[in-house]
Symmetry: C2
Subunit: 204 residues, 2 copies
């Protein structure tokens, strides 16, 4: 089994944190350097034709791409600790939060970053800086909603830590390069962020 990873990118980090929570270590890891456009090179394009990291190569040669698909593979192989719910309802609630966070938080943070950051001019062509900027107030509006929800329970999708917290943690830290400031008056969000950031997995 071999993992294609990028230390500096948010999606591969989702997989690394997930694996750390599961206590799974993958010895064979290859770094793909996005700043050198290695993901668009011939070698990696054979691994993932849509030219994104992470990717996981199984021993039978099957390639899995897409962070959450890779996480689901490990969740099925090793269900404990459960990070994607345990029954029909909790699995659906985790998936709901996961997708809500992706659509209204991680994605607009990524759009702000990709369309406004000078370092992305090579990868996002053409950039639409005004579109990028328009994503910033959307992030802040969603964070108010998330803050209210986190006033009702310990973690994003319930009383247990799940993959939804991983997505929210990664999106929160990705706000910095996207140049969006986390509002410190959102007390529940701040409490939750302190808690999930202090988990050993956050360093993965």
């Amino acid at each position: 089994m071999k993992l294609y990873d990028t230390r500096t990118a948010p999606n591969p980090r989702r997989v690394r944190v997930f694996l750390a929570e599961k206590g799974i270590e993958i010895p064979d890891v290859q770094q793909i350097d996005l700043s050198k456009l290695e993901q668009k090179g011939e070698e990696f394009t054979r691994i993932n034709p849509v030219q994104r990291t992470p990717a996981l190569e199984l021993d039978d040669g099957t390639i899995l791409t897409e962070s959450v698909a890779i996480c689901r593979y490990f969740e099925e192989l090793q269900p404990n600790p459960p990070l994607m719910g345990t029954d029909a309802k909790s699995k659906a609630i985790v998936e709901m939060w996961q997708r809500r966070l992706e659509l209204h938080f991680l994605m607009p943070v990524a759009m702000a970053f990709r369309h406004t950051h000078p370092a992305m001019a090579q990868m996002e062509t053409p950039q639409f800086p005004e579109f990028g900027e328009a994503n910033k107030p959307r992030v802040l509006a969603f964070l108010e909603h998330l803050d209210a929800e986190l006033g009702q329970r310990r973690y994003v999708a319930g009383d247990a830590f799940t993959i939804a917290d991983i997505t929210a943690l990664v999106a929160t830290d990705f706000m910095r390069p996207a140049r969006i400031t986390r509002p410190e008056n959102l007390k529940n969000l701040t409490r939750w962020y302190g808690e999930v950031s202090a988990r050993p997995s956050a360093k993965a």
Copy 2:
């Protein structure tokens, strides 16, 4: 159990097709009219604070939103016929295709529609028409990739029809209002599209 549906919108259709494939009928369905902005009204905002359809209200009052989360709930309740894979590897492959199709097909079609269609001026404020247009060639590039993949197997994620085919079908039909023409020279895509469109579930 109550389903909040929108006949004219692509995401609620994903759930309707999924339910039709499972042979599940939900008698209590309420239509939410997006053209009247009912999804932004006080009543529906209480159901889904992020103001999108579909939503599913369970008998215990739990609200599930996000199409794929609703599908996952039914997949867990009634695993047959399986539409999201059957073991670790096939579940991961379905999820990979599902997400690849969302990110590189359904999402750019939606962005083209939302940012260029006059009917969306009320819902997508502000529209960025140039950004919308820039999504169209991305869709066409992805369809070439998908066509090559469909030359290797019957359905998107393998030999069995799955939720990934539903997402691809809905995205393909959504190209019309987004004003993107499906290239008829993509023979494998055309073969697959004819086949999935002919299933009774496609009318759901």
